[in-house]
């Protein structure tokens, strides 16, 4: 019995639209649930006071600072190394077995669960290098985690720059360095920025690696060697231990808003560069 293709078309259409609707419903459920319960918690006091009584009262200012500091450390360390490596791999070497092996290693390392990085960070940075639970330990560990992503996205963007651009600079008598600075880098910048912003999002949301290396102390970090609790870790502890559901929701809401803002900034940047005319 042949089913009418028009019927299958209609059924397929229903299924596909339902999937899309289902996904939106799930997203809204998660996001709205957190935002509705969490936004009322966010007020000036919440943002400027440090947690007291294990987080039952006070605010989350130290965790906000901790998150920002840790992300800053990670990005500042990882970006030059990531971009530099990407440039070296694309501009200064020929495609061969070595570059393939390097790329494969970077991909595999990108796939290692963050908890394994956390374990490594705890043993190497916290214990062996005696950095202790600190912003630095956490930042270094997360820097290593985001390195493969930055390398990969930078490499892809650099590759996407048309050869023509480089040839123009060469034909005008420029050196390799000048092709990179004047032609390739500006062109690849949106893609590179994409990778960095993706990584920033990851830093902010990362929990497993951070809790093992930056610790879970509640005070405002006074230096790079102070332990700190990031917002994601704070949320995890509050929610897990049932210490304060209200504060947990507030922290989660702030996290989601922060990540949302990062995404919006990225999209704006991309649109601006695309509109600039390439």
């Amino acid at each position: 019995m042949r089913v009418n293709p028009k019927t299958t078309q209609r059924i397929a259409k229903v299924l596909i639209w339902s999937s899309a609707v289902l996904v939106i419903v799930i997203l809204l459920n998660i996001v709205f649930y957190i935002l509705i319960k969490g936004i009322p918690q966010i007020n000036w006091q919440f943002l400027t006071e440090i947690p007291r009584n294990m987080g039952r009262s006070g605010g989350i200012s130290s965790t906000i600072v901790g998150t920002l500091l840790l992300t800053l450390v990670a990005v500042v360390i990882a970006t030059p190394f990531g971009i530099g490596t990407a440039f070296y791999l694309t501009e200064y070497t020929r495609e061969g077995r070595i570059t393939r092996i390097i790329r494969f290693s970077a991909e595999s390392l990108a796939g290692i669960p963050s908890i394994v990085y956390g374990l490594f960070g705890y043993i190497f940075f916290v214990t062996y290098l005696k950095l202790g639970w600190s912003v630095l330990s956490g930042g270094l560990t997360v820097a290593i985690m985001i390195l493969p992503t930055i390398i990969r996205t930078s490499e892809e963007s650099i590759r996407a720059v048309p050869h023509l651009y480089r040839e123009v600079v060469f034909s005008l008598g420029g050196s390799k360095w000048q092709t990179i600075t004047k032609a390739v880098f500006p062109s690849a910048l949106p893609g590179i920025a994409n990778g960095i912003i993706l990584s920033i999002g990851r830093c902010v949301a990362e929990t497993a690696a951070v809790i093992l290396t930056a610790g879970s102390a509640l005070r405002m970090p006074s230096s790079l060697l102070s332990p700190t609790r990031t917002m994601a870790v704070h949320f995890y502890i509050l929610a897990r231990e049932g210490i304060s559901m209200e504060k947990a929701f507030g922290t989660a809401a702030l996290l989601i808003i922060l990540i949302f803002l990062i995404n919006v900034v990225f999209n704006m940047l991309v649109n601006r560069y695309v509109a600039k005319g390439r």
Binding site: G132, G215, S223
Partner: protein
């Protein structure tokens, strides 16, 4: 092509040596500067002790604004090894030290009861120690067998590095019986309490000081789980909260330890539901 390979190889070798030297220098200076510039006290370990240590530390830092105390979780095992390796100035433990750990300096800052909790909707009020052991060993599998409804018992335990779990195994399971591998494992007292509060068929063990009205603490052999009963010894499940250190504390660390052992410090702990320590110190 060969020339390129040779040149590249030479370049790589020189650069590689340079890299290794630079990295080694960086690592060395990083670890060196960390030793010098770290002020303040790091306290790490048992998640059971952590909330109480935090409250005392908060009070202490109000009285001594120049001291920085950072309290860290991770579990009793982490606390003890962190104290041993020097990563933490004080390690927190919610169980007594094992033989191989006895070389460390330690002091008991309080005693804590171990409560066996069930959901408030659970009709069971009282169990014997043998029954609890049977439940955790999975020789007793339904609530009906101990006077409750006909449903499967959901057994909840803590994780392997937990002092609370060690204390429970020592006090309830004994040397020969194991907690069933099918037990659900959660990594903090609070998480266990949440779970038992949500699941009518769950049973778990947590710090006595953390029992709230969302869960019910069982009587053991007719003895109610109250602080008084732990103090007078009739409620058998209790464990020491220890501060552990590589060697006897000096300076800021010593002052903090003295504070927590002082009348003021002990009063804070008592207000939170702990039993004052018998001040058993040792090395």
């Amino acid at each position: 092509m060969m020339k390129f390979m040779i040149l590249t190889y030479k370049r790589i070798r020189i650069s590689a040596i340079a890299i290794v030297l630079v990295l080694a220098l960086t690592m060395g200076s990083l670890s060196g500067c960390s030793q010098k510039s770290r002020t303040g006290i790091i306290v790490a370990g048992s998640t059971s002790v952590q909330p109480y240590a935090e409250i005392v530390a908060e009070e202490y830092m109000i009285l001594h604004p120049d001291t920085e105390i950072d309290i860290q979780g991770g579990g009793s095992a982490t606390g003890i090894t962190a104290a041993q390796s020097g990563v933490a100035d004080i390690g927190m433990s919610s169980r007594s030290l094992k033989d191989e750990e006895k070389g460390l300096w330690y002091v008991e800052i309080a005693r804590d009861g171990l409560a066996v909790i069930v959901n408030p909707a659970n009709p069971v009020q009282d169990l014997t120690l043998d029954q609890v052991r049977g439940i955790y060993a999975e020789t007793i599998t339904t609530w009906k067998e101990v006077g409750g409804s006909n449903s499967k018992i959901h057994v909840i335990a803590r994780e392997e590095g937990s002092g609370t779990r060690s204390a429970f195994t020592d006090l309830v399971m004994g040397k020969t019986t194991e907690i069933t591998p099918r037990a659900i494992v959660q990594d903090s007292n609070g998480a266990v309490r949440q779970l038992v509060a949500d699941d009518p068929n769950a049973i778990g063990f947590i710090s006595l000081g953390l029992v709230n009205d969302k869960v019910k603490a069982l009587e053991l052999g007719g003895i109610e789980a109250t602080r008084e009963n732990v103090e007078n010894g009739s409620y058998k499940l209790s464990r020491p909260f220890l501060f552990v250190s590589l060697s006897e504390p000096t300076g800021q660390t010593k002052e903090f330890v003295d504070f927590i052992l002082s009348a003021d410090g002990q009063k804070i702990l008592m207000n939170e539901g702990l039993i004052p320590s018998s001040k058993g110190a040792g090395k």
